[in-house]
């Protein structure tokens, strides 16, 4: 092992796979789970950035518009930090530069169209962005070392996305003209955000957790997401949103990690 390799091992602690090494050999049966999670995360970030960006000139205040633009830039940046990892996966799809680049974009169904209102933007920010961050948090000490650095940087920026969502949820809950629609958008996006983790026995996350690619399986991630989401949604009061056990999983697409066809 050369000096550079030793330095990388020192820096990456107990990681099993370093940059430039073939993850298929190290992870074996868990390799498809690694690839599936990275592809779904990158594609969802890419498209979420696009949807945020559509509000860069039309938020309810100047600050809201600038924040939408900044968060769009962040999400696109997160996707661009993840796409280079595709080069490590021989069977990965093409990295996206445009939404039309592939027919099989691994994104949530609601991200296939524009967010129709500011409450819809905030619901996506509060729930779906949070769901992605919950998985990212679980990968900061991943056994797949190339994931570690982007995950930490992404989480630093996501802390401000979370502040944005929390502040706006509070503001919208206090606006008679917007509260009802905010509740409606939350109900729409909730199953897709919670559905991101899959059913409790989701094989992809189970294998990824067993291999140390992420720290938690689907059930643990969903539990953590629900607890965090309840705090953000607290200004709206009790909405009676369904837990993972109450979702209809008949349309679950494990390849694209989405609940709604």
């Amino acid at each position: 092992m050369g000096l550079e390799d030793r330095e990388r091992y020192f820096r990456d602690g107990d990681a099993r796979v370093l940059k430039g090494e073939d993850p298929r050999e190290a992870f074996g049966d868990a390799y498809p789970a690694l690839r599936a999670l990275v592809v779904a995360l990158a594609d969802n970030k890419f498209v979420l950035g696009r949807r945020y960006g559509e509000w860069a000139c039309s938020g309810p205040t100047l600050e809201a518009s600038v924040s939408a633009a900044a968060m769009a830039g962040d999400e696109m940046g997160h996707a661009r930090a993840l796409y280079p990892l595709f080069r490590e996966f021989p069977d990965a799809p093409k990295a996206l530069e445009r939404e039309t680049d592939r027919d099989d974009i691994h994104r949530a169904a609601f991200l296939g169209r524009s967010l129709p209102s500011w409450p819809a933007f905030i619901a996506a920010n509060a729930l779906f962005d949070l769901a992605l961050s919950t998985l990212i948090e679980s990968a900061v000490d991943s056994a797949y070392a190339p994931l570690r650095h982007p995950m930490k940087k992404i989480l630093q920026e996501e802390a401000f996305h979370h502040e944005h969502a929390t502040g706006w949820m509070e503001a919208l809950a206090g606006m008679p003209g917007a509260r009802a629609e905010t509740e409606e958008r939350v109900r729409e996006i909730w199953p897709e955000a919670l559905g991101w983790f899959g059913p409790d026995d989701d094989e992809t996350l189970a294998r990824a957790a067993a291999a140390g690619i992420v720290a938690d399986d689907a059930g643990a991630l969903a539990t953590r997401f629900v607890a965090a989401a309840e705090q953000v949604l607290e200004p709206l009061g009790a909405l009676g949103l369904p837990g993972p056990g109450a979702l209809d999983w008949s349309g679950w697409d494990p390849a694209r990690r989405r609940l709604v066809p």
Partner: protein, 144 residues
């Protein structure tokens, strides 16, 4: 329909003045302001509005809490309850307001500020210690 159509529920808000610095050894200086309905959004907006530099520290101070001590070279009466205050000032119009440091004031804020930081200020203002929202603290450039 939501806010885009009709914009029926535009939130009111308060102005927060944003102070930041790019290096540890620099003084925090005024870089702009944001309008936000609460502290959480003020924090998010300050971070997202002012991304032109890699900031080491950033604060957002509610303007309603800022007491003007000197305005355009003229001292203003500023009687305050005793406590710790954070003072900022500038001597030239072309300079931004710069954070000078904390003082303990009991009654006459102007006298306490003059004693601590001298005379000849074009603008001098202060806010109660603890009233600022911390946006970034000692990031060592890790966050943009």
């Amino acid at each position: 329909m939501g806010l885009r159509k009709g914009n029926a529920a535009k939130p009111s808000g308060s102005v927060y003045d944003v102070f930041a610095k790019t290096r540890k050894e620099q003084a925090l200086h005024h870089i702009g302001d944001v309008l936000a309905p609460g502290k959480g959004l003020a924090k998010a907006y300050a971070y997202q509005m002012y991304q032109e530099s890699t900031w080491h520290d950033m604060l957002a101070v509610p303007r309603a809490r800022i007491v003007t001590i000197v305005d355009d070279g003229e001292s203003l009466p500023a009687s305050v309850s005793s406590g710790s205050w954070v003072v900022c000032g500038r001597k030239e119009k072309a300079e931004p307001l710069e954070l000078l440091g904390p003082i303990d004031a009991a009654g006459d804020l102007a006298a306490a500020a003059a004693e601590a930081f001298g005379e000849g200020w074009l603008e001098l203002a202060a806010w109660p210690d603890g009233s600022a929202v911390v946006v970034l603290l000692d990031t060592e450039g890790k966050v943009r």
